[in-house]
């Protein structure tokens, strides 16, 4: 799949932003006044920048409001609705905490729920797709949620940072290894795509068009996979290993946390780039390409 930068920025930043809001919602840390203002402002800004960038890859973004209508069947629509609900609930929570010094626990729990639900819906946009076997399993769902929680834990300097970072490393390796076998396990082959297998071994003789097309550009992205192993290594180092080592060796001052967050986000971007670039769509079978 084509790793569009707008979609990478969208999923990484909105995941991080809603993760930050999650920790603030459950009152870890328990902030008041100006401190709370700074934390909430950053968390909202990151979430909104992420959400807005998701509209950059649309062909007709002026109609984006229509995306709020089909929540009954569409995860993309659910993601849109849930993100707005989460922002509104957390906005209320923030106003009460910052200006009135009241932390309504039930409101916080509600906000935390919607933050996680938003991240879950984001993940489901990809996880639901049977056509992309590497995406189509719950491991990716947990990965999205875990990365969001980890990002928020770094942002709030939580005691759980190191545990969560180690968990991201383990799960990431598991998701990569498991994902490598998913296409073969899906049972889709050039024979099932053409139903010609009973006649003999099938290969593409001539493509339908000499140039490229939307399908090949969007869904048969092969270029990026050449350096996939090296990139996995880099992604793992930046996303989990280096931040975990820093968090273990240094006191978690604001400066250290900012550095850790920067390295971690760069690593998540690399991992998310691979998430797209390594994913193979079954339509490639009709082109004898994956």
């Amino acid at each position: 799949m084509h790793p569009a930068s707008s979609v990478i920025v969208f999923t990484v930043l909105s995941g991080f932003g809603f993760g930050c809001l999650f920790w603030l919602a459950i009152g870890l840390p328990d902030l008041m006044g100006l401190d709370a203002f700074v934390y909430y402002a950053i968390a909202f800004a990151v979430s909104v920048v992420g959400l807005v960038s998701s509209t950059f890859h649309l062909g007709n973004p002026q109609r984006a409001l229509r995306a709020f209508t089909q929540w009954q069947t569409s995860w993309l629509s659910r993601e849109a609705c849930l993100s707005v609900i989460a922002l509104v609930v957390m906005g209320l929570h923030a106003i009460l905490v910052i200006f009135f010094g009241t932390n309504l626990q039930w409101l916080g729990i509600l906000g935390a729920f919607f933050c996680l639900a938003t991240v879950l819906a984001t993940a489901m946009i990809y996880v639901q797709l049977k056509t992309v076997p590497r995406w189509n399993h719950m491991g990716n769902l947990v990965m999205f949620l875990l990365l969001s929680l980890t990002g928020g834990a770094i942002f709030t300097g939580s005691d759980w940072v190191v545990h969560l970072l180690i968990a991201t490393a383990l799960l990431q390796v598991g998701v990569w290894v498991y994902g490598d076998g998913r296409f073969a396990a899906s049972g889709s082959t050039i024979e099932s795509a053409t139903q010609l297998g009973s006649l003999g071994q099938v290969r593409l003789f001539e493509a339908p068009h000499s140039g490229s097309n939307y399908l090949l550009k969007e869904m048969v992205h092969i270029i990026g996979r050449k350096h996939a192993v090296k990139l996995r290594f880099i992604a793992l180092l930046l996303m989990s290993v280096v931040p975990a080592l820093l968090a273990m060796m240094m006191p978690l001052s604001v400066v250290v946390l900012v550095v850790i967050a920067g390295i971690h986000i760069a690593g998540v971007m690399a991992s998310r780039w691979l998430f797209f670039a390594e994913a193979e769509h079954v339509v490639g079978l009709y082109y004898d390409k994956r």
């Binding site: 799949m1 649309l58 062909g59 229509r66 056509t131 889709s188 795509a193 006649l199 099938v202 140039g211």
Partner: protein, 250 residues
Amino acid sequence: MTQLPPPSEVKLGLVIDLDTCVGCHACVVSCKGWNTENYGVPLSDMDAYGSNPVGTFLNRIHSFDVQPETGPAQTVHFPKSCLHCEDAPCVTVCPTGASYKRAEDGIVLVNEDHCIGCGLCAWACPYGAREMDAAAGVMKKCTLCVDRIYNENLEEVDRVPACVRTCPSGARHFGDLGDPNSEVSLLVAARDGVDLMPEQGTKPVNKYLPPRKKDQLVQPAGTGCGGHMEEVAAEPKGFLAWLDKSLEAL
């Protein structure tokens, strides 16, 4: 509405005969011709006369080479357009309601005025049947020529999809696959028609008729060309034999 309607009784679709398709691409051209000036925005081409032309098409012909265990390989031309699936995953993922399946005849369409061009439906389709138009930023797909098949301004013979009307080898058939006694259903039954990628669970309405078994050419023993020509002499005779010998002696 992106909720799928309950399965319709009428299931309009195509039956594509892989035995007779000669791979001429005439249906590709007629499909593009009809659909660029009818339903929705035109099917644009980018850099049409330049070095890297790309364009939107609703129907494309792949050609495959099938190698049996023994004997020569066989070429199979393979037309591919939307299969108007009963469990169409492209419809349910659509966030805007632009993609929908008609309750009355099962045709899957895109309401282009509502489409935001997110591309998720094209990701959800296993068959590559949807292409985003680069000029208009909306999703294009086979309409089953909905603006021909019910069009009373056209002559009766023309009230079939453009690709079906055009096909010079009669490889594309149009009809109601929901009716077990329709011509297309009988054809599917007679020729053991199949679903593409059944493991994807989309329940396509369109069916494909596999190529028939080939005749075996029986060759008379010891002849290379069906026994019509003399064997080519391996050893020269007469004058040539003398020339051959003399030249070798030199």
